[in-house]
């Protein structure tokens, strides 16, 4: 979330799409209801189903799963056509005025310029700003690499760079300025097209578009709208682009950085934010530092690649905070390898494994199936269930040598070898050794968790783990220490990073999470002095924040964005001050939020270019001329002393300092502007460009389990989701939740049920090209048949919560089929998230 949960109460307009917060985030959704009650805010719900969120909405539109970009693109078109945009914001805080290189082509035929059909990827050289002085022709010091997908880094061509001095046209009239390109790109997304592709009748779409953009009626900047989404947007082969479209709308309407605005991702798990921050993902290191690639032959090359230089129109300023990247990276290396990380050995940069291709979730299973990955450790992660393509995952595990599962309940992953359908005879042929280790539940562990609003909150242990169960950190520590012992005794392949990994916890086998948290915050390794204030931090002291980090090895910090969370003043994440003087729900004194305890990101954008709040009744930060700095109710997300006349862009994490309507040089791999592509399995050909129906960057695996259905056989669009009564695959072990929703069901429209002669509560089969799911029919009017491109299309939906181990499952009360038996293992090219929403199925009576 750019903003926070409580901040939603400050909004005037909510577009909730690709998410169902009433069901999945009820306690956060209270602030949406608060906005409705206290401000008469309006709520628009766009979803394939009429959900419990929709029940509270002022307007509900049923959309075909996977067509969100069309809807949002239509919204952009509507806003532009009806002049419901924030002009000053647009010109000053976004790259609307930037001029794009000649040769850039919009995807009117489904492809942007530079597509290499053989490699299945784009050459990004035309996806760039035009340099004001021809500087873009020189590959100089300005670097901003697109290499989020590392595979390409091994290639010979150097990645394109942003020009330091960008050509621009503040009148937004230049035919190649971003604004004009944007206009052209979305001119195709007319209400008629929206209706044809999404299934939303055009009058309803226009009603919604009018309502949503009404916050900018007559150029008024006071009102604010927010867009709220969840995995209904991410789980597509174009998920990142859906979210980008939303961000673009918010930039167009000037809603980013403002109280009650923003683009708000509602994360689905208590610490999915923290897990991402801490880089439990192959392609990043803690604090969103990019993972090194083989071409990063030394630390310098690596740092040069990942540290951007500023790129902006020359009269403007850009803070370009990521120019500090080397400080973050070196401090991380110091934190990981301690004294072994020295200037002489490039801070042990070689110890870090280099990634050269996609090692993401679906690839793990594919590579395990193909015999590459031989061992797996799964902690608190039910890999078989989470999918996609459960069958493939089970068959991959059959080929593994060993599997370690750390869990609190018996789960499907640890029992993959006796999944339904595997006979005792077949079990005897499965040679995987499985260790199932009893871990600790949430109440048995202390530590911090970071919520969707980036608040890291400390919790305390209430009870000891039951029986022989152990704390998760103790188990991981024990495994690591025993492996290290083996390498110490026996040697082996490149033991240095193992032997030299810093493990300086008082009790190495039982690391105290407080000590870990202090390590994450970072400390001074030598006496440090702030040159301007003269403040001194002594060696060994906790750092007050990331501004103190150094790239010379005199600081260690496990995760720069968490620097400030455990200072000399103690654990900031355990703070419980709940005063909110501004009434905006900022709560500066409650727990701690990254970065630097800021609650609303990009909050400089809540003010006009002169530094005055757009809406004086919702003052977040503002420029104090007398003091010569930015002050406010929140921590300014800005260079504190940059006066408005400097024209520094508010989006300080971008090298341009502005919000990107146009995503240059492949930071988004599948296009600078989002374009609608159909889901991999779709009932129709993409009406925009039938010859390029799907995202051209999507790759399919080749195992026998990677099968895809066609609309002639599988005509029903299916989507998966959670219910408010359950949490993933966890609460099927909790009798209270099982009582609420005891059995799996499939929600099907009344019309489809009538057609098939299915009555509510009857057992039905949902069949995709990959598997069969069985559950009871939930015949409902909350899903209606839709007209898609002249074709009647049904959508059905099924909750994901049941599997083959659980209270009801063990009692034989359901068919014991996981929902992800149905889903395909195809992913978004940017985030590598699988497409669990909007695949094709057929149904029949069981």
């Amino acid at each position: 979330m750019t903003n926070g949960w409580i901040d939603i109460k400050n909004t005037d307009m909510m577009l909730i799409m690709g998410g169902n917060p009433a069901e999945n985030h009820p306690c956060g959704f209270k602030w949406a209801m608060e906005a409705k009650r206290d401000r008469n805010a309006k709520l628009i719900s766009v979803d394939p189903r009429f959900t419990r969120t929709s029940s509270t909405a002022d307007l509900f539109l049923q959309i075909r799963a996977g067509t969100d970009i069309v809807f949002l693109g239509g919204l952009i078109r509507y806003a532009l056509e009806n002049n419901r945009i924030a002009k000053d914001y647009l010109a000053n805080y976004t790259n609307a005025a930037f001029i794009i290189k000649d040769g850039f082509k919009l995807p009117e035929d489904g492809l942007y310029s530079g597509f290499d059909s053989e490699a299945g990827k784009y050459d990004f050289s035309t996806w760039n700003y035009e340099g004001a002085d021809g500087s873009d022709r020189q590959a100089g010091t300005v670097r901003h690499s697109p290499d989020v997908v590392p595979g390409k880094a091994g290639g010979a061509t150097p990645p394109p760079h942003l020009p330091p001095n960008v050509a621009f046209d503040l009148a937004l009239q230049h035919p190649r300025c971003v604004f004009q390109l944007l206009k052209r790109q979305y001119s195709r997304y007319t209400p008629e097209t929206v209706e044809r592709i999404t299934g939303i009748p055009r009058d309803q779409f226009v009603k919604a578009a009018d309502l949503f953009t009404s916050v900018r009626k007559d150029g008024d900047m006071k009102k604010v709208a927010t867009i709220i989404y969840a995995v209904g947007w991410t789980q597509h082969t174009f998920g990142t682009q859906i979210i980008r479209t939303a961000a673009m709308i918010q930039l167009l309407l000037g809603n980013v950085g403002r109280a009650g605005g923003g683009v708000n991702a509602l994360r689905g798990h208590s610490n999915i934010q923290g897990a991402t921050d801490m880089a439990g993902l192959y392609d990043s290191l803690p604090g969103y530092l990019k993972a090194p690639v083989p071409a990063d032959s030394d630390l310098d090359t690596y740092l040069k690649r990942i540290t951007p230089g500023s790129s902006k129109p020359s009269p403007w300023a850009s803070f370009n905070y990521y120019s500090n990247t080397p400080k973050f990276a070196v401090s991380l290396l110091k934190s990981m390898y301690g004294d072994a990380a020295k200037k002489e050995n490039q801070f042990a940069f070689d110890y870090l494994p280099k990634v050269d291709r996609d090692y993401s979730w679906t690839h793990i299973w594919d590579d395990m199936y193909n015999g590459k990955v031989k061992g797996m450790m799964a902690f608190g992660m039910n890999g078989v269930m989470i999918g996609p393509d459960t069958n493939k995952n089970i068959n991959a595990l059959k080929k593994a040598d060993w599997l370690v599962v750390g869990e609190i309940y018996p789960d499907e992953t640890s029992e993959f070898w006796r999944a339904p359908g595997i006979t005792a005879d077949e079990q005897k042929t499965i040679n995987t050794t499985v260790y199932r280790l009893p871990c600790a539940g949430f109440a048995e562990k202390d530590g911090s968790m970071t919520n969707s609003a980036r608040w890291a909150t400390w919790k305390y242990a209430a009870v000891p783990p039951p029986g022989q169960a152990r704390l998760d950190q103790d188990i991981v520590a024990e495994i690591f220490l025993r492996v290290r012992q083996l390498y110490k005794k026996e040697g082996g392949k490149f033991p240095d990073p193992i032997l030299n990994l810093s493990w300086a916890y008082a009790d190495a086998a039982h690391p105290s999470l407080s000590q870990v948290a202090m390590e994450v915050n970072g400390k001074a390794l030598a006496d440090l002095t702030d040159p301007t204030t003269g403040q001194v931090i002594k060696a060994g002291q906790q750092l007050p924040g990331f501004a103190w980090l150094k790239d010379d090895g005199t600081t260690a910090c496990g995760n720069w964005i968490y620097s400030g969370s455990w200072t000399e003043a103690g654990n900031q994440m355990a703070r419980r001050g709940n005063e909110d003087p501004s009434g905006l729900g900022v709560f500066q004194g409650w727990s701690w939020s990254w970065p630097a305890n800021r609650r609303v990101l990009y909050n400089r954008a809540s003010c006009d270019p002169d530094g005055k709040p757009w809406d004086p009744s919702r003052k977040q930060v503002w420029w104090n001329e007398a003091a010569g700095k930015w002050v406010g109710n929140d921590v300014p997300d800005f260079k504190p002393d940059s006066a408005p006349k400097d024209h520094m862009g508010p989006f300080i994490m971008n090298p341009e300092g502005i919000g990107r309507l146009f995503a240059p040089i492949g930071v988004i791999a599948d296009g600078p502007f989002p374009e609608h592509y159909e889901p991999i399995e779709s009932p129709i050909k993409n009406p925009l460009h039938p010859d390029q129906s799907n995202n051209p960057l999507v790759k399919k695996f080749k195992t026998p389990y990677d099968k895809f259905g066609t609309p002639d056989e599988y005509s029903i669009v299916c989507t998966t989701y959670r219910l408010t009564e359950h949490y993933h695959y966890w609460t099927k072990n909790n009798p209270m939740n099982v009582q609420l929703i005891p059995e799996p069901f499939v929600e099907i429209p009344v019309e489809l049920a009538d057609e098939k002669g299915i009555r509510g509560t009857e057992m039905i089969k949902v069949i995709s090209a990959r598997g069969t799911y069985m559950a009871k029919a939930f015949v409902t009017r909350r899903l209606k048949p839709m007209m898609i491109d002249g074709k009647k299309v049904y959508q059905i939906g099924l909750p994901i919560h049941q599997g083959f181990r659980g209270i009801a499952e063990d009692e034989g009360r359901d068919a014991r089929t996981p929902a992800n038996l149905l889903t395909p293992a195809v992913t978004d090219p940017n985030a590598h998230t699988p497409e669990s929403k909007g695949f094709l199925v057929k149904i029949e009576k069981a």
Partner: protein, 297 residues
């Protein structure tokens, strides 16, 4: 008599005066259920179940999100769901938290024959005292909302207590505390009524629900659980909320006229035969010297 007994303003099956009637200045508590902000999440159901610590029962899927068809002796709080299609074709998913309404004039208490099995406190809470309950089930019949439920195991009747164990120490009921969207409120009856009316007005003026209103049925003297409904003209849409609930006529007839007629009749009968005896005496059989020889049939 402990002073605390003066907290009682009604006692079931009780002869004579009620210790607390007319004595109290304690404020009346009230739950406000704003169905227009209910998201049917069932947090209230679980909070209730958890706090009261009852056993779990097996449920089955019934083509609805609803946990079970109606409340149960060990499940006092149930969200009732209804997919309602309006005339303009738009859909509403109506969700209403069903629980004891804590009527001002409780039909259960009126019907209960067991002394102090049901009491009403000065703060308005109608509380079942299972220790005194005889399990006759009259309360189930007396209640116009189908709330009290019989436990075959305990052979007694149970219902929501409005968490009087919590309320008596100054806490809010468990369901109120849990409610994520604030669709549940707790406070004095006066304030909840005002809040409800304000919300209903907002719904009428800003959300296009022209029939929005407050449900505080006068037929049972008002309730200590009140609803805000999108459509106060049709409460039945909300899982069968009765339009005009009353303490049933039969219970009233039984409790009042019949009782007086019956009591009078019995007394009249006994007195009548006594007077008859005084006036006419026994029927004596002349010459009968009944010696009391035992018969051997």
């Amino acid at each position: 008599m402990s002073q605390a007994a003066t907290e009682l303003i009604r006692i079931s099956g009780h002869a004579g005066t009620v210790p607390g009637a007319g004595l109290n200045r304690e404020f009346q508590v009230c739950k406000l259920v704003d169905t227009t902000t209910c998201i049917g999440c069932k947090a209230c159901e679980v909070a209730c179940l958890e706090w009261n610590g009852y056993t779990f029962s097996e449920t089955t899927f019934n083509n609805s999100y609803q946990t079970m068809p109606e409340t149960a002796w060990n499940y006092w709080n149930l969200i009732k769901f209804n997919e309602h299609e309006r005339e303009d074709g738009t859909l509403m998913l109506l969700m209403r938290k069903d629980q004891c309404m804590h009527c001002e004039d409780p039909g259960c208490l009126a019907a209960c024959p067991a002394e102090a099995a049901i009491v009403q406190y000065a703060n308005g809470i109608v509380d079942f005292q299972e220790a005194n309950c005889i399990g006759c089930g009259y309360c189930m019949t007396g209640c116009p909302f189908n709330i009290p439920k019989f436990s075959p195991k305990a052979r007694k009747v149970f219902k929501c207590t409005l968490c009087n164990d919590r309320v008596s120490v100054g806490l809010e009921p468990a369901c109120i505390k849990a409610c994520p969207t604030g669709c549940l409120h707790f406070g004095t009856k006066k304030e909840m009524k005002e809040l409800a009316e304000t919300r209903a007005e907002q719904l009428r003026e800003h959300s296009g629900y022209r029939e929005a209103g407050v449900y505080d049925p006068p037929g049972v003297g008002g309730t200590h659980v009140i609803y805000v409904l999108h459509d106060a003209k049709n409460p039945e849409l909300y899982g069968g909320l009765p339009k005009n609930p009353q303490v049933p006529l039969m219970v009233r007839l039984w409790k009042h006229p019949l009782k007086w007629i019956g009591n009078f009749g019995i007394i009249f009968g006994v007195v009548g035969v006594f007077i008859h005896y005084l006036r006419y005496g026994p029927k004596v059989v002349e010459g009968d010297e009944d010696k009391g020889h035992g018969a051997k049939p």
